[in-house]
Every structure is written in C-alpha cells, then in structure tokens.
Symmetry: C2
Subunit: 325 residues, 2 copies
C-alpha cells in the first residue's frame, strides 16, 4: 500500500542519520545499492545496468568502486553486504551454497568476506528433493527481508522472475524451495517459437506489451486442466488459425498458461491455500501472480523489491545485534 501523503510531515527518509550499511543486490543484468541507517532506514538508493554480464574478468573491484565510490568516500569504514549472482562461479568470488534448512544465522556464519569486517558476499542456498538439487542466489535475502517486514516465521513465498522460486519457511528457517523456469520459457515461447508468428512483434520494451486480463485468466485456468503445458501451448496457435484469438490477447494468454502451469505444478499445500502466499517482486510480475493465485482461491500478500534491503539489514543485525528495524 502506498503511504498516505502528509504535507505537514517531513519525508520518511532520515537524511541526517549516519549510514550504517551499504546494501548491494548484484545480479546478472543489474546492480542496485542502498545506503541504510541504523534500523534499516533507506538513506539513498541507486541502480544501474552494470550487471554481471557487463563486468570484464578481473574488473569487479573497479566496477564496485565506479558505482559506489562516492558513498564509500563519505564513510570509509562503512560495512557492505552483497547478495545475488555476484557470489556465483561467474561472479566476483564464488560463495559456496549454504544447505537448507537455513536461517539468517546460517547465512551470517557462511558470509564470504572479501575484506574482513568490511565487504562480504551472502551465500546462496541449496536444497535437495527427489534426488535432485536446486539452488538460489539473492532470493534467500529477499525472503528473510519479507519475513522481517511482515513479522512472519512460517510462510510459503514465491519470487517470480526468469527463474521463479517457491520457498517454504518454517520456524524462521528456509526448509526447502523449488525453481521454475517460467519467465525464461515465456520469453522463449513468446519470441522464438512458432507462436511468435501470430503474436505482435516484440519491441525493446516488453513491459509495454498489451495486457488483456481476460486472456491471462483464460490461460491460468486452462493450465489447470488436463493436457500439460506442451499441449496447451499449441492451442495459442490453433485458436489463431481459426481467428478465435486476437493478436493483442495472445501474449497475455501465453503468460497465463506458463504462470498457471507453475501454480498447477507447485501443487500448493493445503496450508498455503488457507494462510496464503507471499509474493515478492516487481509490481508488474507481482500483479500477475496475485491475480493468478486469486483465481485459484489462494490469499496473497505482496512485498516489493525493497525486501532485499530489509534482508541485508536483518543479516547485519543478526551479526552485530544492531541495525534491524
């Protein structure tokens, strides 16, 4: 919910407070940072497209300095925690996965310190189910941030995206999770499959794509029926052949089919159907998951991408006993 506008009040950002933590979310395609005061209050925030893919080998320190040098100059002793793919094999340094079940103290114990006491990478998590491993990097931090924000210690959470993560939390620990390649598969089907031929050409701004809620709903519900994703996808083409699907609705139908398949396959346990699911993510994706879960009768709470800052503040607080809200 947006904060109410109160013209007689000072801004919520306490710009006079001293920075206590440089919080960094360094992913594959983006680099975001925030200066946090004690209590986790955001003093300043910035982001750039300087993701992992843009950083040349050996250029990590320089990229970090270029992005945050001014902040660090103002607070030379400021500690910094980084989450995300920066800790992967292709990142600055590989932070070994922390095995589930894992709580904030487990992550803190396994921080990978690049500069002792100053600069550390939060490890990702690994889990094992049905004889197969699964991994995440960055989402664990968002999860602990969302739990702190919502005051929860038991929850089912989903972090939609290129690779959606479904996370189970019990007693404040992540006990397990499952990845679904939903966003990546949507993009493949949307842009490179035969279905692309009957959909409008994708421009540079995918966010500007037409959004037809009724078509999305139809896809979500269709995905719950028998037949399977590989079959349901073809209906997008067959409907077009018979002029039963206008081009503007096609992408929304396709989005509903893949998100609906993720929800079907995830087989939300009865507990989540009653207590609900926490959706963490950008506004656009969260809106779609909120809508899809609602169609299936699952209560939803949403948390934005500020969950990362709350998560890093919570980890810092677990380490030092201070900072957290």
């Amino acid at each position: 919910m947006a904060a109410e506008w109160r013209p007689d009040c000072a801004p919520q950002v306490a710009s006079a407070a001293a920075p206590a933590l440089l919080a960094v979310d360094w992913g594959t395609t983006a680099l975001r940072g925030a200066l946090l005061a004690e209590g986790g209050v955001v003093l300043a925030e910035r982001s750039s497209p300087r993701g992992l893919l843009c950083v040349p080998a050996g250029g990590w320190g320089a990229a970090f300095e270029a992005e945050f040098g001014d902040w660090l100059a103002a607070g030379p002793d400021l500690p910094c925690l980084m989450a995300g793919m920066v800790g992967s094999r292709q990142g600055w340094a590989e932070a070994p996965y922390c095995a589930c079940p894992a709580g904030p103290l487990d992550l803190v114990a396994q921080l990978l310190w690049l500069q002792p006491g100053r600069l550390a990478i939060v490890p990702g998590l690994s889990t094992e189910a049905g004889g197969l491993p699964d991994v995440m990097r960055g989402e664990e931090t968002q999860v602990f941030g969302a739990l702190a924000l919502l005051g929860l210690s038991d929850a089912t959470l989903v972090l939609p995206g290129t690779h959606s993560k479904w996370v189970t939390v019990q007693g404040g620990c992540i006990t397990g999770f499952a990845t679904h390649m939903t966003g990546e598969c949507f993009a493949l089907f949307r842009q490179h499959s035969i279905l692309a031929r009957t959909l409008p050409a994708t421009g540079a701004a995918a966010a500007a794509e037409a959004w037809v809620p009724e078509a999305f709903d139809r896809g979500v519900l269709q995905a719950q029926a028998a037949g399977g994703l590989l079959h349901h996808l073809f209906a997008v083409r067959a409907l077009s052949l018979f002029d039963r699907l206008d081009a503007a609705s096609g992408a929304s139908l396709l989005s509903g089919l893949v998100i609906g398949e993720e929800l079907r396959a995830q087989a939300l346990p009865a507990r989540a159907r009653v207590s609900g699911v926490v959706v963490i993510g950008s506004a656009t994706l969260s809106t779609r998951y909120h809508r899809a879960l609602g169609l299936l009768g699952v209560p939803v709470q949403t948390v934005g991408t500020q969950a990362t800052w709350h998560g890093l503040a919570a980890l810092m607080a677990s380490r030092t006993g201070t900072l957290a809200a």
Copy 2:
C-alpha cells in the same frame, strides 16, 4: 526391420509395373514423392529439401514440375495426391480442415482438386476438446496408412516430431487428437535456454548428438514425478552446477524430460496401456518413444515414414476401388 539380403532374388521393387499414383508428402522443410503401382507397391522414391519455406509465392507449380516433371512426362495421365502443409494457408492452396470424427471417405470427399481428376491436396483434420481447437496436416494420411499396414481399426497412435500428435482411432475413424509442441520445445531449450550453456555446442547435425540411454531414461522417469516441466528443466542446470551431470548426458536427459512430460500429460488411457500404442515416424524418434513408452509399461508397435505412401494409396483406393494393397 531391414530386409534380409538375398543375392539370388530380384529387388523387391517391381520396376516393370505401371505407375498408378504419384504420392507426395510436402511439408514445411522437405518435399518427398513416390511412384506407386497398383496395390501400393513403391516403384521409385525421392526427396529434397524443397519444403514450403523454399517455395516463393506463386512458385508452387514450377517447384512441383521441377521435382516430378520427369515422372509426369512418363505418365501424363498419372493422378497425384499430396498431403502435408502444402494444403495450409501458407501452402499451394488452402484445403479447409475436415472435422473429426473423420475416416478415409471423409478425406476423399473433401479432397481439394487443383486439376480435376489429376492433382489434389488431402485436407488436414481439426478437432475440438475442452473448448479449444487442434489441427493436423499430413499426419492423418500417415495414420490411415499405418492402420492399413497393421490391419487395425481401433488404435492409439503417436506421431513424434516438432509437433507430436496423439491420435485416437475407433472403428476406422480418427475420433480425436492432441498436439504437443515437444520437438520444438526441446530445440528451444537445447539451443536457446540457459541450459544450452552447460551442454555441448550444437553442430549442424543434431542427429550426431551424443545419445546416453541412461540419462534419457532418468529424464522420462523424472517427468512422471511431481514438480512439472518448468521445474524439472532447472534440474539440468542444478545438476551441472554440482558436477553431477556430465555434459554429454545433458541433451539426452533433456530429451527424456520433454518426451516424458508429453507421455505424462497425455495420460494414456487404460486401453492403450493394454493394447499398446502405434508409433509412426523416423527411426531416431521412434526409438526414443518406443523406449520411453516401454519404461512406462506400454506395449509399442512402430511404423516408418512409408506410412504416408500407404495412406495416400488407401485414400486413392477409397476413391477408385483400386490400388490399395
């Protein structure tokens, strides 16, 4: 099964017999033709990459003449039946779909004659299930050919490929079918997804890709477990991250996952589990489906791509009362 080599026998092709039908299978990427004698005996056979994608607008007659002109010169009154995407909106002429249930006589009644009595396109089929349409072009002809070859009038058949078709036949009629975009999705995942990064680079010859049966089996069985395709796909990556999957096995595992998902979603009716499934297709794909169905306890019969010639001969026989074996 390959024919036994018998040095004291003449070739099985009866080259002295008169051609009775020019049978053509004109698809998106290939053009195949066969000269058939009365009884459906194959006198000669050829194929070229002159598929729909290679034919310029208005160039259909010229392409047909270039490919089969010599055969037609030798038999100027020879009738010709064509099956496949040649009858699609992007083909030579659009042959409207014939609605299921449909038998050979329905197809014959709806032949699209380009030259009356001489040159016709076999219509594709359409069906409707769960409020959604489905379509095929070319596979209907292969199905009737396989039924003629095997002497069946009730069967469950699968035609693996870019878009696999599962077909139900009752009393000699195709009563319904379902398309799965299995082959296309495999290629997308194999070549364009994040999974491609941990698999060997694909060369020009996909058929030359390493084949690891154990990895394929693992994928087929994994696909039967809970989790869904979007989740199971990610295991290919996670296994690689932990060095639990050698690169050579990855493509076979992926193949097993998508074919296994098709079989899971198709939810083979109890009848097919007892009486079996007829697989129609190329040797490579048929072998994989045969193996996957076997793993799931489903009996299999296989028919090669000659099913098209038997199908066109059967349709011609339905029309004229002659030619069929």
